[in-house]
Symmetry: C2
Subunit: 262 residues, 2 copies
DNA sequence: ACAAAAAAATAACATAGGTTATTGAATAGG
DNA sequence: CCTATTCAATAACCTATGTTATTTTTTTGT
């Protein structure tokens, strides 16, 4: 059930205790939102870290004149910036796409993690670094890729991230974004998103029907997008900590070292 | 002298001991680079955190076919992602613009910080969050702003960041970027950068001569850019920790709490 | 099951920004 | 100090993407 755990385990093997505290945190202070609802708004004082449990959400920014840019998507298991609470004001808004459930994680939860759950702390750092890498890739996407490449790239990214969190059965995944959402995320106009989508469909690169995305050949889509998955840092080889090595968070000097923070 | 210290002190008041360890770290393992030299390349294993002491550098990504996007600039006092060492491979390159000196900071240095220098740890978290915010703003910049707004925005950002690090005397600051660099950073062609620059000059929004940027009226430039500085989180009011409150890093339960990590 | 609303598709036309090529002005290096 | 490069400027032309408007299809709420 817990997409966050599944995702983090791609980087670090978690112990039963690790999983328990994550499960607990994801079940306290859960809120439900309808579709197209704001979770926080630019200018608000950040109070909690938001973890998306179900549904899709996004970060977005708006200019005074209304131009809107989606700067990232939150899929189940994704959370907003660690430590946001140290900032005075949000510089962007977070809103739902579909109806969604969100767990609010307190500062205290993170204190607890960094004091006694080194594997989780490491995994959260990994998540932070991956999110930064994704944001950089979006910069590249908007700055250099053509409309077709850009959309293909977004489809690839979502498909990969979905798989990482354990969704995306086979060639298909849930895909509730409207063409207007795609426009806001790719910096294209709605009309051009529509045109480009038709081009992608004509090339059998994606099948987008109902609210489902099907990718007949991920390889061909990746080629069309000039997609290189390295920025998602999904490497299993990279597992730095192993539950067998430190069976318990409270055990051994090495674990304590790792708990020190970062 | 130390731009990093000056920058961090905009968020947290550092103690003499804090300043000392930062100064020490910035003087060990210093490397010099010529202009247009790579500090790390995509695919390399990250080993250290790089702190730019003098000169300008940038992060960039490249597509197979050579299209290049600068995804961020490093000014003196800027450093690359904390904790990069937990990743297996760099997903981008870092290269100099001008000749530059760079200090390499080890994993051990950060362990030391998070164990005994809570104010620095907090300030580095602030820096991490600001960098994430900057990257989001670049996404917005490329996705929604016109060429003129985009360039004006970049000038504003650099001007603000320069001031924060204690450079930028009055209305001017050092500005070694070529039009080709600006093109790579804004996702525009060199020719259009040139055109747009002339438009900015005609409107007396910037004076760019030699390697110096002069902003006759920051207010007017900000208007032209639809620039809102909130994403830089420069608020003094936001200072969370004060050196007077915790004169020594090793002192008191409160400091220890804060040292826990995040 | 139906009406109302939202989303997607299509069309005609407009433009911001890209491309290629050439020339002129600064720098830098020997 | 002179030459070789790099950088900036200008020009003519081109195209990817934006705009506005309308129609068709799908979804949603009752």
């Amino acid at each position: 059930m817990n997409a966050l755990i599944r995702k983090l385990e791609h980087f670090v093997k978690l112990s039963p205790g690790d999983r328990a505290i994550l499960t607990r945190a994801a079940s306290e202070r859960v809120r439900k939102f309808g579709p197209r609802a704001d979770i926080t708004r630019e200018g608000d004082r950040p109070k909690d870290v938001h973890l998306v449990l179900t549904g899709w959400a996004c970060r977005y920014k708006q200019l005074e004149d209304g131009r809107r840019q989606v700067v990232s998507f939150f899929l189940p298991g994704d959370m907003c910036d660690l430590n946001v609470f140290i900032l005075k004001e949000m510089d962007h808004s977070i809103g739902t796409i579909t109806s969604a459930t969100v767990a609010d994680l307190s500062r205290e939860f993170f204190d607890e993690i960094s004091a006694g759950y080194p594997r989780i702390a490491t995994a959260l750092w990994w998540e932070t670094l991956v999110n930064a890498a994704i944001q950089r890739e979006w910069t590249m996407n908007l700055g250099q890729r053509t409309a077709l490449e850009r959309m293909a790239h977004l489809f690839c990214e979502i498909f990969f991230r979905f798989r990482l969190a354990g969704f995306a059965e086979g060639l298909s995944c849930d895909f509730p974004l409207t063409q207007a959402d795609l426009a806001d995320a790719t910096g294209l106009s709605k009309v051009h998103v529509n045109r480009t989508l038709q081009e992608l469909r004509a090339g059998r690169l994606v099948i987008l029907k109902g609210k489902t995305l099907t990718v007949p050949s991920l390889e061909r889509l990746m080629d069309a997008a000039l997609f290189n998955a390295n920025y998602l840092h999904m490497d299993h080889e990279g597992r730095q900590l192993d539950a067998n090595e430190f069976p318990d968070a409270t055990d051994g000097a090495k674990a304590r070292d790792l708990a020190k923070g970062y």
